[in-house]
């Protein structure tokens, strides 16, 4: 059973020489016959499969297409060709605390954030205590979010997101949340999810974290898959790629 099947996707970005954002500019462009933009292929012919219950790593240099790939998996971007099929409920951690409003209390924000993640009010009621216990913010539930420290803010967001019980997690380096103790809690939570048979797709520069969590990985370079397979081997190839890049 596959959680994610990525079939031969490509993604092209258009970089216009002059960005046209109005009807007027477009009409002027039509008359002057200016259609010039450069095409940039962020991803080219990428295919892979993630099995249910697997933790899967994506590594690569800056600008290699990792984030674009993750955004496509999160259905924020759409590929220009190829297809992606996702089984089960997917939670993407591209950014924590989307929709948080500083003027509202922590409690209200938990309900709003959960609704963005697709939960009903009743479902939130059930996990509400767990969210605040995990975030260690029980005392602050009626405080306005604008008075939260950035660490508290992220803890609340992270805790809400992980308690929304998706089948698949897409994670883009959000582990740097809170202090050491909380980071440990987060990685424990991830291990727990793995043990429960949840699927995890993990994008990171923290090679040790990838090695610890993921059995299989892919290495992206300039939008293409260079290596796919055992994480150890992929990381070695990545390090070799970095070496090559610096000696050039």
């Amino acid at each position: 059973m596959s959680a994610i099947i990525v079939d031969n996707i490509s993604k092209k970005f258009r970089i216009p020489h002059e960005k046209k954002t109005t009807v007027f500019q477009n009409i002027v462009g039509l008359i002057k016959r200016q259609f010039d933009y450069e095409e940039f292929w962020a991803l080219k012919d990428v295919s892979f499969e993630v099995k249910k219950g697997e933790a899967f790593g994506i590594i690569g240099r800056n600008g290699s297409g990792k984030s674009t790939l993750l955004k496509i998996l999160a259905r924020v971007l759409y590929p220009d060709s190829g297809s992606v099929s996702l089984n089960g409920k997917v939670a993407s951690f591209l950014e924590l605390g989307v929709g948080f409003q500083p003027e509202l209390t922590a409690k209200e924000n938990v309900y709003i954030y959960s609704s963005i993640l697709g939960l009903s009010r009743k479902q939130v009621d059930r996990i509400y205590d767990d969210i605040f216990d995990f975030a260690e913010l029980k005392k602050f539930e009626t405080m306005k979010l604008k008075n939260f420290s950035s660490g508290m803010y992220l803890r609340l967001a992270f805790s809400t997101a992980v308690h929304a019980v998706p089948d698949t997690f897409l994670i883009d380096e959000v582990f740097a949340v809170g202090d050491e103790a909380f980071q440990k809690k987060c990685s424990d939570k991830m291990s727990q999810f793995k043990a429960e048979g949840k699927t995890i797709v993990f994008v990171s520069h923290a090679l040790n974290a990838v090695k610890e969590l993921c059995q299989r990985s892919i290495l992206l370079n300039e939008g293409r898959i260079v290596t796919m397979g055992d994480t150890e081997k992929v990381i070695n190839d990545y390090l070799a790629l970095l070496e090559g890049g610096t000696t050039q």
């Binding site: 009807v23 955004k71 259905r75 924020v76 950014e95 989307v98 609704s115």
Partner: protein
Amino acid sequence: MWQYRELIRNLTVADLKNRYQNTSLGFFWSLLSPLLLALVLYFIFRHLFGSEQNFAINLMVGIMAWRFFATGTSASLGAIVGKPSLVTRVYIPRQILTLSNALANLISSLLEFIVLLPIIFVLLGHLPVTVLLFPLIHIIYFWFIFGAGLLLSSLYVYFRDLNQIWDVLVTLLFFCSPIVYPLSIIPAYLMSYYRLNPVTLFIGMYRDVMVAGDLPSLYSVLVVIGFAIAAYLMGSLVFSKLQRRFAEEM
């Protein structure tokens, strides 16, 4: 969509609060502008059309009906662009943003029409029984406006001067609809074109059921349902095509 009902509710409430600046008096402030418009137009045009039956009430009903469309479509322009983090940072069915915007507009419009009822009662001496058909007309009108909203909100992501263009069109629509003047001043040879304006049909139906106490003709009901379905289908089609590049364009 059903899974996201809680989000739709939250966004609609937030939108309403924003419209009324978080004050309970906010709604009454928002009533000032249409009532003032009605008052001014009444004093200017009563010498011309004052002899028309129920001129004052018809004027108010016309303004409220036009406003439902005008504020609904104008507000819909910002439905997507105004919520960048919900477009670029997380997956939700993006029609939700336009839908909750339209729902907030529906609620304010309902409130405005409710305020109109006692005014009609006082000026007319009674309230026609046919007013019970009001919800039916309002729902059809809502789908028409929602369809237009889907079209506009998705186009606005790509064309940021659309709001200026739309402002002009909405003002033009005000004068192309029988709000301040009666239908009878339109020359016969223009009538068939004039009636292509769906807002004209809606205004006529509101006046039928709220003021005259007539049943709207089956023909106009079918035509406006046709308009609503066409607007919704076209809006959905364009929206689902354009939404694929939303995250890149914002």
